[in-house]
């Protein structure tokens, strides 16, 4: 196991109002089995020993399921290896590499400190319609409610979204279409989500527009950066569902 010596170019910013800047740090003797966040932990320990402010970054479960960790690594959210930053291992890098570490950038994600951004905007999209109003009870018995296998698979794939915001951060237009479409598709595909489908689509899209995200230009950067492999098929489905929902609203099919 060879240990790595790296040069880090890290975005430092004291608070939302402060002027941010790139600072250079040496990451010495990093074991290649360490995760990216563990590498930052090692660097931070050294910074604390030197009496400096440690680098602030978001993290929680560190097993790739919570969606809390972020970091744009060399210009690509989560480093572009189809895993979350916490699951990105230092063996992906070579000794002597220079690594640029920046926050998830978008106007809709205000920066809080260093590499930590406020991703409440995504929660606001969910709050607008990413739910079902009816009581669905506890998990039903298997096959109690027939759902086609393909439909169930598509809904499950969409539901795999952990809401980390990498789609927004990777998008050249900071569009939240992949997130919104995955969250809408997940419910729209299943029987429990059918009654409120049109209402949900309109509410979520309008909320997304109001929050200052950009507009999708079909570059599919989001799909490539997504650590959960969410497909842009969901975006095509949302476009389709939005047209249907607008037509339904125009003729008053639902209030």
């Amino acid at each position: 196991m060879a240990n790595l010596n790296l040069t880090l170019k890290v975005w430092r910013q004291e608070n939302a109002q402060a002027q941010g800047r790139i600072e250079t740090y040496k990451a010495k003797n990093i074991p290649d089995e360490a995760s990216f966040l563990e590498m930052l932990d090692i660097v931070n320990e050294e910074l604390v020993h030197e009496g400096k402010e440690p680098i602030v970054f978001d993290h929680d479960c560190r097993e790739g399921i919570c969606g809390m960790c972020s970091l744009t690594i060399n210009g690509v959210p989560h480093g572009g290896k189809k895993v979350t930053t916490c699951q990105l291992h230092m063996r992906q890098f070579k000794d002597g590499d220079t690594i640029w570490i920046e926050p998830f950038r978008a106007q809709a994600f205000p920066l809080l400190r260093d590499l930590m951004v406020d991703r409440t905007a995504l929660d606001n999209i969910i709050a607008a319609g990413g739910f079902v109003d009816i009581r669905t009870g506890s998990a039903p018995n298997a096959n109690n409610m027939p759902v086609r296998k393909k439909t169930a698979d598509a809904a499950f794939d969409a539901a795999a979204c952990v809401g980390c915001g990498a789609c927004v951060a990777s998008c050249k237009n900071s569009s939240a279409m992949l997130f919104t479409s995955a969250k809408a598709a997940h419910l729209n595909l299943l029987p429990q989500g059918q009654p409120e489908k049109n209402k949900r689509v309109l509410a979520m899209v309008r909320q997304m527009d109001a929050l200052g995200f950009g507009n999708c230009t079909n570059q599919y950067e989001c799909e490539a950066a997504c650590p959960k492999g969410i497909s842009v098929d969901n975006i095509a489905k949302l476009n389709r569902d939005y047209m249907i929902a607008c037509a339904a609203e125009a003729v008053g099919v639902f209030a």
Binding site: G75, V76, Q107, G214, N218, A236, R240, C246, E249
Partner: protein, 266 residues
């Protein structure tokens, strides 16, 4: 008398005598609108409200851009089919090129139809350009630049859509000025050959068509995605269609200045 009964009376009235047809129809219209006024307003209100929300939403505007883009793609095909008539006939041996007959034919169509097509195309182009620019401005404002930018799979053509679009627009203005405003349908062939004999003019045309290729290459497959007709299975196919369409259409357009420069058309 209640409006509905008046309606039927009017209808009877105009059926009785042919002379009263116009009067009767007018009254019928007035009463019908009066009777259904509240419903009409309610329906129109819903439709207009939703339409307004649609054309100001992100997806709605994208759909309009996609639809107008699709119209412009169809126009390209028509334009190309017309252009290809330049290879017909044999002007060197006194047989006039087919493009002269084609151009004259275009100008002999009724003026109202010609202008309807021109204004229709202009309106489509205007919607396409204005909405795209509005979306682009929003996109620029929504983003914060990275110190180190990285790209995973966004194609060069997709990232330069506005740039190639502006280039095509500038070309369009020049093209209309050169061959439509200052054109002579009867001598269309000679006019084109004279224009393309200049390498600068030909070079500009070829450059502009290359921009058109990049624009169409991303635009065509984008239309399918935006209109919700795309899935994982067929997306690669759309990509191939877009590239092939771009190559065939743009290649055929470029062939004309190239043919003139090579002396095939003279």
């Amino acid at each position: 008398m209640r409006p509905l009964q008046s309606c039927w009376l009017c209808l009877l009235f105009c059926c009785c005598s042919r002379k009263n047809l116009v009067f009767g129809a007018c009254f019928f219209g007035v009463f019908a609108v009066e009777y259904f006024r509240k419903d009409v307003i309610a329906i129109m209100n819903d439709i207009i409200t939703t339409a307004c929300k649609f054309v100001t939403s992100s997806i709605g505007r994208k759909i309009l851009v996609a639809l107008t883009g699709a119209c412009l793609l169809l126009f390209l095909v028509g334009h190309l089919a017309g252009n290809m008539t330049i290879y017909g006939g044999d002007p060197g041996n006194g047989v006039p090129s087919w493009i002269d007959a084609y151009a004259t034919g275009l100008h002999t169509m009724p003026a109202w139809l010609l202008w309807a097509i021109r204004l229709g195309l202009a309106a489509i182009l205007l919607i396409h350009v204005v909405l795209t620019l509005a979306l682009k401005i929003e996109n620029v404002n929504a983003r914060t630049q990275y110190q180190k930018e990285g790209t995973l799979k966004a194609t060069l053509s997709s990232r330069t859509m506005v740039l190639t679009g502006i280039m095509i627009f500038c070309f369009l203005v020049f093209h209309l000025w050169q061959l439509t405003v200052n054109g002579d349908p009867a001598n269309c062939y000679q006019h084109i050959v004279d224009a393309f004999t200049s390498p600068i003019c030909s070079g500009f045309y070829i450059l502009a068509i290359c921009c058109l290729f990049m624009h169409v290459r991303h635009g065509l497959q984008s239309v399918f995605q935006t209109l919700g007709l795309s899935t994982r299975k067929v997306r690669p196919l759309y990509n191939i269609i877009a590239v092939l369409f771009g190559l065939v259409v743009c290649g055929a357009f470029i062939s004309i200045p190239v043919a003139v420069l090579c002396g095939i058309l003279k």
